[in-house]
């Protein structure tokens, strides 16, 4: 019940954004079947939002342990680059995907090792891979954009299965597995306890280090899958631009979803909503025709409003003036008299 109440604000914001779109485009909510697949603005939001949702899911668990992962954008680029390189060299799609995801997990484990094994602060530890990872991606692609033409690979991010975008199905699967592991099993509790106090958890018999390495590896795996989706959607790998700044969008999605950056508590549903809000905002900008020069300002304003509306302190100040402590009342009357 409490969890539902926390989700009410993100839900309202998402609904408001969708309403703005409906006001500008009458057929915004309509979904039809065209070319043998679902077609409509809502489908677009899900389809283009899928990589962000995945990255944000991974980010949620990392943040729940009190950490942060800045390197996911680079992992997105690396994974797409490696997969496209393998495919362009006539390796099988399956091998390409396994290699790309394997490398992603390895990179995530490296992050986890730096954080848990050596004790570097997460923001610094993952900054290393954030910067170096772009270089690695460019090394893989040789600074070029690798174009691939493989129908099987195309399916991951740009294809449809039974009229539903395949990427959305992947997200649903990952979400279901993550929710099961963290909410039906004890894993979620362990992650939250590590986020609350890693040392106390260790003394209580939880293997904090193992948990931390695992969540970073999971975040990187999610980023790796997102990287496959992004590169598959346009049938090309772009080491420079793929997943650029997605780590910031993901952190924003997690925060909008109500997960505290301090760790110790997380909400998967909130994160999904947060990511959808961000993608809907992007789509809104395109469809209502915000001029490109002011796009960033527009985004910033909306995000600021979203954050303010979510803050209980701000809401109390603005919406519940009358619920002030009684001692404040005489003062108000006094002012009125003198005026």
């Amino acid at each position: 019940m409490a969890a539902m109440r926390r989700l009410i604000w993100p839900l309202l914001i998402l609904a408001a954004l969708l309403l703005v779109n409906v006001a500008f485009i009458p057929g915004f909510l309509s979904i039809e079947v065209r070319e043998g697949h679902l077609y409509g603005s809502l489908i677009d939001i899900l389809r283009f939002g899928a990589p962000l949702i995945l990255v944000s899911l991974g980010m949620t668990l990392v943040i729940a342990t009190g950490g942060i992962d800045l390197s996911v954008g680079s992992v997105v680029a690396i994974s797409g680059a490696l997969a496209c390189l393998q495919i362009s060299q006539d390796q099988g799609v399956f091998i390409a995907i396994v290699l790309a995801l394997g490398l992603s997990v390895l990179l995530g484990a490296w992050n986890g090792f730096l954080v848990a094994g050596i004790g570097i602060q997460p923001i610094i530890a993952t900054l290393i891979l954030m910067v170096a990872g772009r270089g690695l991606a460019q090394l893989i692609t040789d600074g070029q954009i690798i174009t691939v033409n493989d129908p099987a690979y195309k399916l991951i991010g740009g294809g449809y299965w039974l009229t539903v975008p395949f990427g959305v199905l992947i997200v649903l699967a990952v979400l279901a597995i993550t929710a099961f592991l963290t909410r039906r099993l004890a894993l979620g509790l362990l992650i939250e306890s590590v986020g609350g106090n890693a040392e106390a958890s260790r003394l209580a018999g939880i293997r904090s280090r193992g948990i931390i390495v695992m969540v970073y590896a999971f975040a990187a795996l999610c980023a790796g899958v997102a990287g496959l989706m992004i590169s598959s959607n346009v049938s090309s790998a772009d080491g420079n631009n793929a997943g650029l700044w997605i780590e910031l969008d993901a952190i924003l999605a997690v925060v909008i979803g109500g997960t505290s950056l301090a760790g110790g508590r997380f909400s998967l549903g909130g994160t999904v909503l947060g990511a959808l809000i961000i993608q809907t905002l992007t789509t809104t900008i395109y469809s209502i025709g915000v001029p490109p020069e002011t796009t960033l300002l527009f985004k910033a304003l909306v995000v600021a409003v979203v954050c303010l509306v979510q803050s209980p302190a701000f809401r109390d100040k603005v919406f519940h003036r009358r619920r002030r402590p009684p001692s404040a009342r005489p003062a108000e009357e006094k002012v009125r008299v003198t005026a």
Partner: protein
């Protein structure tokens, strides 16, 4: 107190001495290298498109064959990276600096620093909007306004018999970049003469395929009646083609597509009939750049504006040109 001051003075003298010594030695090596070979610092925008990587290759290869030592730096689309790169070139005392500015404005300070260090600067591919043209020796590159005009002229010719309004959507390049500003302006100027041409939506696609696709998807939903797509580069156009196909329309027929650049993937799509017209923007300006660099270092006069030679392609011309295309 007095002791402290004298210590400071002594330290300052020592430091100044070191600095002076450093200056003379590095200046010595600098002139020594300048006798036979030129050192060029080149700051590239990034590798955002096939065009850009072809441009990079051209510069690197022609530097090698011209015997120019190239210090290459990739700005990854960010002006601050580029300014950092230029400052490091100035510190390294290169003989000549060449760069493609990420955006048009905000270059005066760093260009002044180069001028004070007596290092000539050549702009390649993109211009800066600085009022002081003495800050750089020459600008080698395409005329983006002309490219936009060429695109507009084809459109006017194609629809000269049409009576109905022509709905155009535009995919702009990176906001604030010279090619985006100029290609937009040139195109708007030509089609502005006839009120039947209407740009009904215009958004930035950052010159990338992924953004081109995403923005075009949104355009298709918010504007049911699109006749023409004008994309500021091939890659955005290629992304948009996927979006158009996904919407059940035929690119090149239901929606006419005009792009700029003529990279290989774009030319292939043109030959396949998915794009209708491409205005070429040649990235192979390496050889011209090396010639200019040599002249500038020798102190010879160079024209302040050098335009690269370029053409346009229709679908038929693309089929013929495709086999011999280098990039």
């Amino acid at each position: 107190m007095l002791k402290k001051i004298s210590l400071l003075v002594a330290a300052a003298v020592v430091l100044a001495g070191c600095g002076g010594g450093d200056g003379t030695t590095s200046a010595g090596t600098g002139t020594g290298a300048g006798d036979d070979s030129i050192v060029m610092g080149f700051s590239q925008v990034g590798a955002e498109s096939g065009w850009r990587t072809a441009n990079t290759k051209s510069v690197q290869e022609s530097a090698k064959s011209a015997g120019v030592e190239l210090k290459f730096s990739d700005a990854q689309q960010k002006q601050e990276n580029q300014i950092k790169a230029l400052r490091s070139f100035i510190q390294q005392k290169v003989d000549v600096i060449a760069f493609s500015p990420v955006v048009e404005s905000g270059w005066d300070t760093v260009l002044k620093e180069a001028q004070n260090a007596k290092i000539p600067v050549i702009l390649t591919d993109r211009a800066v909007d600085s009022k002081d043209t003495s800050l750089y020796k020459t600008f080698l590159g395409s005329d983006f306004v002309e490219e936009g005009k060429k695109a507009g002229q084809w459109l006017v010719e194609e629809y000269k018999d049409a009576k109905d309004p022509v709905n155009i959507v535009e995919l702009q390049g990176t906001t604030g970049s010279a090619p985006a500003n100029d290609r937009k302006a040139g195109f708007a100027e030509v089609i502005g003469a006839d009120p039947k041409f209407k740009i009904i939506a215009s958004q930035t696609g950052d010159f990338t395929r992924a953004k081109g696709k995403e923005v075009m998807e949104a355009f298709l939903k918010s504007n049911p009646d699109i006749d023409v797509l004008y994309a500021h580069n091939d890659d955005m156009g290629l992304g948009a083609i996927e979006a158009i196909e996904g919407a059940g329309k035929t690119p090149g027929t239901d929606i006419k597509i005009i792009t700029v650049d003529a990279v290989k993937d774009g030319m292939q799509a043109l030959a396949d009939g998915k794009i209708n017209y491409i205005v070429e923007c040649s990235p192979l300006l390496g050889p011209q750049l090396m010639d200019l660099a040599k002249k500038v270092v020798k102190g010879e006069q160079v024209p302040p504006r050098v335009v690269t030679e370029e053409t346009t392609f229709t679908q038929e011309q693309a089929k013929q040109a495709l086999p011999s295309r280098q990039y």
